[in-house]
Symmetry: C2
Subunit: 354 residues, 2 copies
DNA sequence: TGCCTGTAGTAAAGCGCTTAACTCTTCGTC
DNA sequence: GACGAAGAGTTAAGCGCTTTACTACAGGCA
């Protein structure tokens, strides 16, 4: 008597609906919903009938209908400005673990490509398509964050803005990481340090959190420990690494310990240094900071590194957004996770000569 | 008289709805829809009133409601088994261009992480959350493809299965690519070739299209041209490259020209070859096939390469799915795009000695 | 017997939007 | 001046699902 236009079950275009299942099982549509979601007790016999009907019709719940009714899509968008930055191995690992954790908690984590325009963020969040947002590659002063704060979509950052008050985030603990790297090298007798970081565009440079934070940490620690130090910057590619290596060797010949905070340039730096006759690790030790083992072994010799805690970042990042979504009143999740030391072949005791 | 529970406009949680806009503008909700979608003529005065109301209320259309009513989400999922494979620079470029093209055509392209399980594919498509699917990293015999064919969600492949009948796809033209690479090296006098490809797991090896196709192309062309040839395989990482390089040099000393179809191992191969005292490109020429310039320059010297047509693949891939979605009756889009030659420093004329 | 409680299931009101069908006006035309 | 067409809006029926009442019925207890 109702709904007759598409009762031709089976093929015919659209998929089976809850209505059809209900009809077939001889129950009300609500009961089907209760079975599907296990949201209310249903007598075993009835449940069995419903389940049979579902199987026969090949029923799958329609997420859009559900989303509309519940006011929740269970989709979390991971915003990654792929256009501007390369998708490092580190990021992949991060993404993977984030997705797994989201799935675990009943959400879908999808990578949503948007340019860096703040307005695109609004465009995404204001349409109610996603329940929450995870923002990567955050700048110290990031317009997208402002945009998100203005909206009502729950979000969390991977990385931090300058002022983290009122913002949920998960980031690498650069201070601790840099300090351990330096400590490691000091124990091997090094006293002349250099830091090479990534440009990340040109002027936005000082605005990139990891760079800014590592620099200040590097500055502080070397000063405290009375070490000689120099800081250099180059673009995020091997060729830039080659160039900066030449510069480093030419202008700062005393350097024996280098922290590279630029995964992509690191192999180039190694190549560049070797090309001017300096042996690694015999004459110079290099540690790649915040990198992944795969990338580090692109270099020859394989780089010793402080491995980025990508997996943990992914997991806690997702937890942070979901927490914001589900318990907006909870204290803000804010976490810092240090990189861990991974041995390679690019670090050695300083030469006793000199 | 109707809808009173949430007429408290402004803050208070949810966003403005079409209803509220209609009320405020003193028109029917349908009219608002016509304005928003420009789907029916509306008198200028009315339109103005509606637009004013929208602005005042900060209205943004709700995608979920729209999706439900239209039966379309305008979301396309790019399925990339990130868990198993690394996300190469090539893939990033692909992703970026695909996203841009989708946006251009009014769709959202999102990267949807799923494991390689075919069932997860169904789980995604059957819920009606996405209008179409773009599948990457396709195996010659891929269960996910079967799963997609069984469902009714439009899809296209980046890559190909063995049997491409009835399937929309876009892939690299490996035959042409391999042939040009060989031609290039032949013109420089090389006659002893080797192909090193990527393992891509262990047993699935022969099932990976790019590998299988390059191999057969390599085999055919070298035979045709009467060249000596050998094929090797190694995992997709630099260390594996180092090892296979040693093997290559030890067991096939005559080789002077190497095609590497394994972006990630390539830098390792270069390092490995050099480590046993063979100069590149003087003693041995290497071309990295289907790679990206960034990755190629990780090696020292920078690799000459056949650049993967990532951008084109992304664009045409998206076009292919959208075509399937919007004109299911059109002829199936099937396209092959060759890689293009990009000079590096790893290729030279063969030594006249020998 | 009557009343309360608990359990299984149903009816129906939305969620926010689209769209086919319909109602009024207002013109143009013969 | 009457009729039809075109233009501008409105009504209302969904899209597929969730969820809050509410009904029915059985059992427990006095």
């Amino acid at each position: 008597m109702k709904d007759c236009k598409r009762s031709h079950t089976g093929k015919g275009g659209s998929v089976a609906t809850m209505h059809e299942v209900a009809q077939r099982a001889g129950v009300s549509i609500a009961t089907v919903s209760f079975v599907v979601n296990d949201s209310k007790p249903v007598a075993p016999a009835t449940r069995a009938r419903v389940e049979a009907a579902m199987k026969e019709l090949g029923y799958h719940r329609n997420s859009v209908g559900r989303a509309l009714a519940r006011g929740r899509t269970y989709i979390i968008a991971l915003l990654y400005p792929a256009l501007q930055h390369s998708f490092s191995r580190t990021a992949v690992r991060f993404f993977t673990s984030a997705a797994a954790q989201a799935r675990e908690r009943g959400y879908n984590l999808v990578l949503w490509p948007i340019s860096n325009e703040a307005e695109q963020v609004t465009e995404l969040t204001s349409t109610g398509l996603v329940d929450g947002v995870l923002l990567m590659e955050v700048q110290l002063d990031d317009s997208r964050v402002g945009e998100l704060e203005r909206g009502k979509t729950p979000f969390a950052l991977i990385g931090r803005t300058q002022d983290t008050a009122g913002i949920a985030f998960v980031d690498i603990d650069f201070e601790t990481t840099i300090e351990s790297a330096i400590d490691h090298l000091m124990k091997l007798g090094h006293t002349n340090f250099a830091l090479v970081d990534g440009g990340y565009g040109s002027d936005a440079l000082s605005g990139y959190g990891p760079v800014a934070r590592s620099r200040s940490a590097f500055g502080e620690v070397t000063t405290q420990r009375g070490l000689s130090s120099v800081m250099l910057t180059c673009d995020e590619n091997p060729d830039a690494g080659r160039e900066i290596a030449a510069e480093l060797v030419a202008d700062h010949a005393e350097t024996t310990a280098v922290l590279v905070m630029n995964e992509l340039a690191a192999p180039g730096i190694v190549a560049g240094v070797k090309n001017v006759g300096i042996a690694i690790p015999d004459d110079m030790s290099i540690i790649s900071v915040g990198s992944s083992a795969d990338m580090a072994s692109m270099a020859d010799p394989q780089l010793t590194l402080m491995t980025s805690p990508s997996t943990e970042l992914g997991r806690s990042g997702v937890d942070a957004v979901i927490d914001r979504i589900e318990n907006p009143l909870n204290p803000l999740p804010q976490a810092l996770i240090p990189c861990t030391f991974t041995a390679g072949r690019s670090v050695a005791r300083v030469r006793s000569s000199s």
